[in-house]
Structure formats: structure tokens, C-alpha cells
Symmetry: D2
Subunit: 291 residues, 4 copies
């Protein structure tokens, strides 16, 4: 199976590397070519443009946001013109529901398959092939993708034939994480200002009610106030909440916690936190309490 | 060890029963005597008033709220006058930080020991002896309580000598649960209105990012909209958030998610949901979206 | 002076009528031609397309939203191609800051003048020539517009040469109204549920602290729960808050009351209130309190 | 008519002075006696305790909060024991609905009259006899108070026989002011960060939609960022919102803008603003946007 891989940021490069390690043949493309060339030693071929990476059976995209994904797919040397009929585009980026819909329509019109397959996990999970993948699309192309997904993820959840369902679940999952961070930020700030030990608080919580790795990971970052380097940056967090709220508005669903978290992302960025990890939401909570 | 147990509501009765089953000798008291008598067959002695249940080495209180706890401790036939010097009062109710402080002071002045030991877990966990207990107070009396705690809980977290620290952690823990319920309510509402399957969403979340029982338990209640019978009722949820916000105001800590959840508890009650489980916060989210 | 007037909705028709009554010569255009023809009896010439209404010295646009304004200006038979060099486009619609910027750039590039001149006031104020106009742009074209503005408004506030400043003030003004409605809704709900008289409350407020007509107007609508017919509808209110929050995000400004009002607009629409006046925000407050 | 006046803070002293100037005979009491003695030159007799100031036909109280009012009325040398049957207590402080109810009951039981008569206006309005007074209670004692009220206020609104109605309107009025401050703070922050002129914005607003003195007063304070000296301090603002939210909870009314404003008062205090005027809420908005 000839696979193209487009988008080699923190996540994309780790995912591509996991695939190479698992023995897949990859043609990689990245706007900044240097990041693509870093993978040559591991066996990847380097493409000059998205089209060149879209000549095989499957092309995977892992890009930062909607504009990047649109440029790569619909641009001059884009995916959609290069991909042959019957081939698959697996979109693993976290994009809006609206763009996913547009991609589904465009690929269908071109006789191609579009599988939406966003992922949960930070770069270290990607490197270890331990991502969670949420996939939606026609069953047959998903089945063809499965071995490739298995090279990057520990588990794939297929959530139906409508591609946007996967994107919405991804956005909702990130919303749950962001709201957990916000709540942990508020609670640990209170513990701290009351003279208590926030670390002990997180220990109690993660060893009783909330024994989920995500609570442990973010709880520790918050307690240690270790918001750099950014595994997932504030502007990306804001982008995802913005995408979520746009989808929610389409369906006439108010999400007050979503709105609150959005305001705090904006505030974090306004206060100089654009380079922080999104767990830095907890810093906003602390600052608002005078810490 | 002679143990008194005061307060036999859903939680208290299950906890007392677990202690009896574990072989402890119990004198129980409840305002509505019938609930105390239900435990006679299992070996409990029934007291006529709180004082009678406070003649031993340890008295445990498990009451609904501050006024109930105050009445039992400071009232006519109350705990504080009956307890002998050196004996222990283990307060396991979810009360305010302010009352816990007052109890600590009063017991100290009377030459008695006060251990704050609130619990996490619903009545079924109490019956199974699977609670999580958060204890604070002097080490020696906590050590004396430990075997008793082991009869009710799967684990005890000792969080220091200042009793209020335990109560604050309890309130913060309930806040984390309430905010999780709120966020799950908002997210599942969006999934539902978008035509997706909220059950599948909860499955994906609890098998990937959030493999904590509390997410599974509440996720299922929310998806099935099974808000009755109330394991933990709306007014109790509101009371705990009110107590949290009062403590936070004392320390000049704004908790915007706390405020939002408080408003939704009030709204749930205003819309006729006073008898619902607090997971019914998700019904507010659904109604606000026109469902 | 030959004036074109494009967009004859509730507001636009009332404004055009005021101009005709004041003696101005008008060529009018509306997508639904019938509304244009209603003005023929009062002396207006009817154009077949936007271009035909843009042949004079000044063309005024008063459209519902960004897409409508974009279509009229940049479309096939649009304003920008038809307007001669040195002529003026006075954009009086409530549009986004981003579109206003784009219009300013496009008109400048075409050697034309763009004056942003959004208005405050409901249709009855427009009919009476009593609007408030907030104008921004180069001084000379604004001076040329002034007599025309005087035909529609009781006062024009010139707020500088940067057109977007006027649009932002318009959005902020609507935000102040929306937040006032929200607060009045919450307060009157409390008065009502406490057994008090919300009408008396509004009387006290508008005869003491808040003797502004806008408090009187909306206070009365809220007390009488007279949310129809819609002078300014929910979806338009939501659109303006959305535009405001987009501008605020651009400048990294969190606006928590704005976010809250946005959620309530969405909720109002979700609960079947899309046809209500935006004062119907108060109905959301009442419903949330179980009324 | 012999009048007692208890509580000579910023507001109380200005009110007492207005009464003296209007020719009323006053016996004044203040915990810090020096502030009472300042009025001797203007003809006031100085009392040694609240009881001494309660021997006439009418005693007015103007105190900072519930505890102060409770101490003065129910304390050792308190109002309630000293006031003769048929005499009147006019409570003009901003107190909770719950305390007003308790006062009404206690005075009724003692054969005395209680008139709740809180006021709107800052100290300068009090000195000029230009307050707005909201009065509730039995008609006859209110009629007796009217000439006295006329010495302090420009207008009295009688809102019924149930005393708490006046207190609730007072709290709701302060809520409307606080939410106006919050909204003005958010809007002016946006104008400022966008490069616009917040002063011009306030001018436009107060000369068009919002020609109410309260908008002008607070708009100017906010634009000039002149938050000191405090005409009405942050802790007092927080107290009033807390009282409002307590009353609202009693009636099961969620007030989300109230909750938001409460959080911002707390945050302002946490960030060192306890000595600021409550218009300093706008500083929180500015800081949250990185200014």
C-alpha cells in the first residue's frame, strides 16, 4: 500500500514516524521541506507538493487548521486533483464540521473516498503508536485504512458513515478536556489560597474518583505550573473551542461552559500566554484569584 | 471499641450496615427512629438521642447538612456534652468549612478529638465498604479511627492535621463531579441535536481519554436520561456548591464554573427537578437547547 | 444630489421614506422588487439592480447582514463596478468590522469614497427621521452626506476617519442594549417570583437611575411580555453579538457578558423564539426560573 | 418631630446633614463618636448609644451591612427595646431581604412600625437632598415619614405594604448598575484595544441611547480609570450582589449575570482592588484583556 502523509508538525511527524517504524511505505510532504527531509533517513520519500503525495492508495492529512487543510486539498497542486478514483483521503486533522462536510462532498463528487479520522493523544502518544482514533466514513475504505490506523493508534472507534460525526466527537472530546482543565484550575487555586496542598489534592482525586491518565497528566502540569513547552498550545485550544461553538450554533445548542472556556483562552492569550500549553488555562484561574 | 453512629439516611444507613457486617459494636441514632430500628436485627443498639450514642470511644456523624450537624452536636442532648475527654468525633458529613472549623474548636476546648472524614461514593459503594475517605485531624485519633474507616472505605487519604482541609477537598471533589456532569450534558446535547449517538460518544470517551468509573456512571445516567431515583439529589448538589462558593469567597477565589453550575442547579430545581439526581443537570442543558 | 438606496427591509424602507419626505431624489433597489415599488407613489425611481441605483453621487446600503451586503457590493451588477470615481457609498447596515474593512479597501482602490454610517433606532424612529447615526470616514465625503443623514437622523456622531470605528461602536451599542435586556430579564423575573410587581419595579428604575428611553421601551416590552411583532429579531441580535465577539477575539478581548448573551440568544431560538423580538431574552430568564 | 439618626458613614452623615439643613431636630449616634460630634455644630444632639437615639417619634438607621444593623437594633442598648409603641423605625440601609423580614416581624411584635426605605444615590446626592427613596410598609407611618424623606430625597417611590419589596428593589437596582458597569467595562476595553477612543464611545452612547446620568457618571469614571476615592467600594458591591443572589436562590431564580458580576467583584478584591470604587469592575475587564 502506497501511502502519502501530508503535514509534519509535532503530531504529524510523530505519526509518520510511527508508520515508518511499523513498516509502511510513505511519501511525505510538508510546507517547510526541512521537516519532511528529517524523515528521509527513516525511509520516507519526500514530495514537492501535496499532489505528489497523493498518487498512492491512501493519503493522510494532519494539518493545523482549516485554512491549511483547505489549501492542501483544494489548492493548485492539491490532493483532490491528484488522487485517483477509488483512493482514500484520511483526514486526521482537527478541523471544523463544516470543512469536513465540504471535503466529504468534494471527494464523493470526484469518485474518491473520504474518511474522517481525528485522533486523541499528545505527540508522545503519537510517537508510541498509542493514539485513539475516531473514524467515520464508508465501511469499506475504513477497513482498508485499519492496518494503517493500527500503526498509529492503540484503538480505533468507528462511529458511523457520516464523516462529520467523527469531527464532532473530536471537538467534544477536546471540550471535555478543556473544561476539566478549567475546573482543575479553579479547584487547585482554591486549595492553594486556603493554605492546602494542591498536589495532595490531585493525588486524592486521581486515586479515587478520577483515575484517568488525562486527569493525572493535566493535574500534574497544573500543580507544577509547567505550562511550557506546549504539547498543545493555547491558540490551538481556542481554535477547537471556536470550531465547537460554531457547530453548536448551527444546531442551536448553547454551551455555556464552552463559552466560558473560550473567554479564558482569549484572556490567556491576551495576558501573554500564546506560547503556553492549554493547561495554562489554570494560570488564568490563579491570576484571577490574585496569585 | 464502642462506636456511636448518628445519621441514618441513604448514606449513613449503608455505612452503619457495613460496620456491623465488619463486626463493629454500634449504638445508632436517627431523628426518625424507625430507620435506626431497621438496624437492630443486625446487632445495633438504638439510642434515644445523640448523647446516648456518644458515650463510647468514637462517635461518627453522617448528616444531611450544616443545620442537622449543628443540632446533633451542639443541641440539648448533643454530642459535645456527652462525649468524654479523649474520645473522638469523626464527622463524615459533607458540611461547610466554617462549621468544620467551629467543630474543631469546640471539641478541642472540650478536651475531645475531632476528625473530619468526609467520603466520596454513592450509597451502593457505602454498602459495599468501597467508599473513599478523606481524613484530616491529629494523627493519633486518625490512627485509632483507621480500622473503622477500613470497614466502610476502600481507601483513606489523610490530608493533614487541619480538619477543614478534608472538608474543602470533599467540596472540591464534588465540584469536579458537578462540572463534569455539566460538560457531559452540554456535549451529549450537541451530539444528540446533530443527529449523532450520545451513547456511542460516551463509549468512545470512557474507553479512551476518560476511563474513570465516575465518567461511565454519570455518562450512562445522562445518555439514558435516568435521573430518578436520586442517588444524590439536586438540593444536595446545590448545597455543596453553595458551601464551596462560600469557602472560595472567604479566600477571594472566583470560581466561574462553580457559579455556572450553581445557576443550573437552581434552574433545575425551579423547573421541577428538585427530586432528580444531580446528574439531571444534563436535563437543563437539553432543555436550554430546546429538547 | 442623486441618491441610490439599496435594501428596503423594515429599517431601509422607513429610512428611504424619510428621505423622500425630506425632498431627496431617490432611486431605490430591493431584491424583492415589490417593496421598492411601494415607494414609487412617493416619488422614488425603481432600479432593476444595485448597479442602476449606484449611478448618482451617493448610494446608501441598508442590508440585513454581511452576505447580503457583499452580494450587493461585489456581485455581478454590484455597487463597486457601477459607482463613478469620487462618488460615495454610505454603508448604514450593521455589518462586521471585517467586511467594513474590506469595503473601505475596495472603494479606495476604485477611487470611490466609503463612509461607514450605521444607525441606532428602531423602525418607528427611522420613519420619524429620529435615528442616531454613527459615521466614520474621510471628512469631506461625510460633509457631503450630512444633509442626507439629517433627513434620517436626529444627530450624527462623527467618530473619525477609520471606517471600522463606526461599525465597532454600533456593535458595542447593540451589546449594551442586549446586556441591559438580559439584566432586566433576570431582575424582573426575581421581582415576579418574589410576589412583587415588575411593572412598578421598571417604573421606579426609569424614573430614578435609568431615565433613558431605551430602558423604558424595553422595560415595558419585558413586563408586558410583548415579544411580538419583532422590531429587531432574535437571529439579528445573535448575528450582532456574533460579529462583536469575532471582533473582540481579533483584538484578544474576552467579553463574558457578550458570551452569556450569545448563549441566551441561541437558547431562545432553540426554544422556538426565532420570531420574537430580541427583548424575548427576558423570556429565557423567566423560563430558566420555571415561569 | 424628634428624630434619631443612627449610622454616620459617608452616606449617613450626608443624609443627616441634609435633614439638619432642612430644619429637622436630630439626635445622632455613631459607633465612632467623632463622626457624630462633627454634626454638633450644625445643631445635632449626640447620643451615647442607639437606645438614646430611639426615644423620639422616628429613628432612622443607615448602616453598612446586616451585622451592623442587627447589632444596632437587637443589641444591648438597641433600637427595639428603646422605641416606644407607635413610633417608627425607618431602615434606610441596604440590607438583606431576610433581615428586613426579621425587622418587620420584630417591630410588629413590639407594637412599633417598621418602614423599609433604602435609597439610590451617592454621597454627593445625599448631601444635596437628591436621593431616590424606595419605601415599603404600612401607609400611615410612611405618610408620617414623608416630610423627612423629602428632606433627603428628590422623590420617594412607595412600593407597597410588604417591607421586603423595597429591599429587593434596592438590590435589583444595584444589580442593574453593577451589570451596566461590567458591560461598559467590556465594551470600552474592546474600543481601547481596537485603537478607538473610549471617551468618544461613551459620549456617543450617553447622547443617544443611554442619556441617563448613571451612564454618564460611571462611563466617565471608567474612561478616566478613576477608581479612587471609592464612592461605593468593591466589598459593598460584593455584599449587595451576595444579598441579591441569596434572595434569588430563595425564590429559585438563577441570575447568571449576577453570578458573573459576583465573580468579578471577588477577582477585583483578590487582585488588590478592595479599596477601589465598584466602577473598578472595569479594571478587571481591562486586565483580563491584557491591559
Amino acid at each position: 500500500m502506497d501511502i502519502g502523509f501530508i503535514g509534519l508538525g509535532h503530531m504529524g511527524q510523530a505519526m509518520a514516524r510511527a508508520l515508518l517504524k511499523a513498516g509502511f511505505r510513505l511519501t511525505v510532504y510538508n510546507r517547510t521541506r526541512a521537516r519532511a527531509e528529517e524523515l528521509q533517513a527513516e525511509g520516507a520519500a519526500v514530495a514537492d507538493n501535496p499532489a505528489e503525495a497523493s498518487r498512492g492508495d491512501l493519503v493522510i492529512t494532519m494539518l493545523a487548521d482549516d485554512p491549511a487543510a483547505e489549501a492542501v486539498v483544494f489548492g493548485e497542486q492539491g490532493v483532490i486533483r491528484a488522487l485517483r478514483r477509488g483512493a482514500i483521503h484520511a483526514g486526521m486533522s482537527t478541523i471544523t464540521v463544516a470543512l469536513s462536510k465540504r471535503l466529504a462532498d468534494a471527494h464523493r463528487a470526484a469518485g474518491q473516498h473520504y474518511v474522517a479520522a481525528p485522533v486523541f493523544g499528545r505527540p508522545d502518544a503519537a510517537a508510541a503508536g498509542k493514539l485513539f482514533i475516531v473514524a467515520a466514513g464508508e465501511p469499506e475504505p475504513i477497513a482498508r485504512c485499519q492496518p494503517v490506523f493500527d500503526g498509529m493508534g492503540q484503538r480505533t472507534f468507528v462511529v458511523g458513515a457520516v464523516q462529520t460525526a467523527a469531527n464532532l466527537i473530536k471537538l467534544c472530546g477536546n471540550f471535555l478536556i478543556a473544561s476539566m482543565i478549567e475546573s482543575l484550575g479553579e479547584a487547585t487555586t482554591l486549595i492553594r489560597k486556603s493554605g492546602g496542598d494542591p498536589q495532595r489534592f490531585v493525588e486524592v482525586m486521581t486515586n479515587s474518583l478520577f483515575p484517568a491518565p488525562v486527569y493525572k497528566t493535566y493535574g500534574d502540569l497544573i500543580v507544577e505550573q509547567k505550562f511550557q513547552p506546549a504539547g498543545f498550545s493555547m491558540p490551538l485550544g481556542l481554535k477547537d473551542i471556536r470550531s465547537l461553538l460554531a457547530a453548536a450554533e448551527t444546531h442551536a445548542v448553547p454551551m455555556p461552559v464552552g463559552s466560558l472556556v473560550r473567554d479564558h483562552f482569549i484572556s490567556a492569550i491576551a495576558r501573554g500566554g500564546a506560547n503556553l500549553d492549554w493547561s495554562g488555562l489554570a494560570r488564568v484561574a490563579a491570576q484571577d484569584a490574585g496569585l
